[in-house]
Amino acid sequence: MLFNSINFAIFLPIVFILYWLVINKNLRLQNSLLLIASYFFYACWDWRFLFLLMFSTLLDYYTGLKMQNAESLNRKGFWFWLSITVNLGFLGVFKYYNFFAESFTETISHFGLQINPATLNIILPVGISFYTFHGLSYVIDIYKNRIKAERNFVDYAVFVSFFPLLVAGPIERATHLLPQIKKERIFNYSKAVDGLKQILWGLFKKIVIADNCAQFANQIFGNSTDYSGSTLVLGAVFFTFQIYGDFSGYSDIALGTARLFGIELLRNFAFPYFSRDIAEFWRRWHISLSSWFRDYLYIPLGGSKGGMWMIIRNTFIIFIVSGFWHGANWTFIAWGALNAIYFLPLLVTKQNRNNLEIVAKGKLLPTFKELSQIAITFGLTVFAWIFFRAESVGHALSYISGIFSKSLFTIPKFPDIKPAIVTITILMFFVLIEWLGREQQYAIKKLGIKWKRPVRWAFYILLFFIFGMYMNTEETPFIYFQF
């Protein structure tokens, strides 16, 4: 079930009404409802993978309890490694098996040897990377004695499979989400309205921004050899907005939906394209994943405490693993490595924590210096996204060589240039709203808060009109579902 589908528009109000009107004030029933709704939501994709989700949930719940009750460190370690191995095993088989098998065959063939690997026709269970990481953080936190194991299975299962975050995050932590699940929730008018506003803005990002940019990005990336350098740049910029609109739109809908049920999820995006350097970008892009890798990989590896080589090594590891997490393709690894290269100079010169606050805080416009920094960071990001979007590393390299040609300084030209101009106009409106709301959790949170209700409602109705007039005519899945 997609967030941007009619089915979800029916599903959400039903669950909401049952939750607040029918079983209000009964926490156990509310959590049970959330679990049933979440499993139903997941089963709408492919009910067979529901068993995998249930098994993964049961495994981590059980090993969590066993670790807590273990009489010796060895016993605790056994249960810990069992959970880690099985979780990563599932991820490895479903997500990476074919990649490793094919890469191994290719490597062997360079030595003149031919083997026929048994590649499997595997469907990637939607959300496996996300719920596996939920489970992993829970198990690691128990092992490290940061939290106690959850005894109530329903509460734990809701933590893993709460439907707004189940398939594409944010990647939650037990320390943040579980206490909310266990606490009685009271309906709050302001929070519910805020949730609806965030859903509305998320839908705008997905339906209007991402889906419209996608058609041009797909057209240009799909026929990259036919286009001029300037058109290829435009294609990369379209993809840059597509991926932001798609993923941050999903996150907004997830956060807004959770807020309707009285639950606050971790913030996942904080206006990353207004960042002044790459370090700031990574503090603002897919925050829940970046912080997960920081806490469960970078810091255990020694973080920035060791010598220079250790810092460089750890930085490369975290970015490459992060790239690999996105998918079994060398393009994601190249994308991760490129970001590590961007990041390293800042880290080595200890400039990586220069820009902690949002740009031009309290001001309407940025300074010229800030604007230049934003433009450079944006340009670097656009360049890196080429690897992320390309079909293969070869495709990415040919795309880049196409950009750096004489035709870079010509006017972009491709068959759908007129609709593209309309999309660029909408993008300008979008960037303006995002800029004005950059100090808030999401762009329209405080927009129009002092306006009279008819004016505010007119703005929301205008957004609905833009949906209707510019949305893609087919429901398109979110990019991050494939991860």
Binding site: Y189, K418, V422, Y460, I461, F465, G468
Partner: protein, 307 residues
Amino acid sequence: MRKFFKNIFFFVFFLIIAYPFMIFLSGYLPIPQTFKPNLNYRIGSYGHMFTRIKELNQLNGDVDILFLGSSHSYRGFDPRNFNDKKVFNLGSSSQTPIQTKFLLKRYLNKINPKMIIYDVYPGTFSIDGVESSLDLIANDKNDLESIKMAFELNNIKIYNTLIYAGFADFFNLNKNFVEPIKKGEDTYISGGFVENKIHYYKFDNYSKREWTFKEEQVKAFQEIISLLKKKKLKTILVYAPITPRLYNSFTNNNFLESTIIKRNHLEYYDFNNLMKLNDSLYFYDTNHLNLNGVKLFNKKLIETLKL
């Protein structure tokens, strides 16, 4: 909680009023089409549907043969070639089974044909039918059946266009619209045919491929068959000629014949196998007969069906 639901109710209420009004304004004001991609109201568009419907409404019924299908129908069955028969061609651009079903439900009783000849070009089963629906919405009246068709296709472009059409019908905005009989190289011929200035096609070669058949189109086709059987109407299905090169590039031209047509024991003729036409001499593009080709095809049809 009550405040929340009350405000939601009022917001939805205002949205339901404001959204159609904004759609109407977008359609009414001279805004370039590029800026309103999901509103496509094209009265008097390609294929003379407006004139065809106008003529249909003036028919006295009791037609001998009703032709149905896509442009292959309204460009392939020329009433002038069926001298002693009263025929009407209700083909429309890219008409898929979903629109055919819609048109039959709306007009079958009025036309009251003795026989139906339905061109089942496989290409119409592989498309969603949005373009053809937009054509019908803009050029024909709109009623409950139009809304049903919109829900069946569930496409925002159709909903928006239907909303605008509702306003256009209500305010009678098209009362002064006159569709020229001759548009570009097309001339409307009484009886629903559209004659194209004679051209000769310079053929292309194609790689091998397969037709795809959308589930919803196959379902609509089955419903058409059931409707016509219920009415006990003599129905003949044909596959009008397309360029042999194009025809031979598809490996599953007999899909419908071997499945639904066979299952329903229907009379079917694939004229691509019954006659050999030269790609250039008898076609003006890859899948439309030119006037010379139409004459030959209609002659062969009359002979084959003993009309």
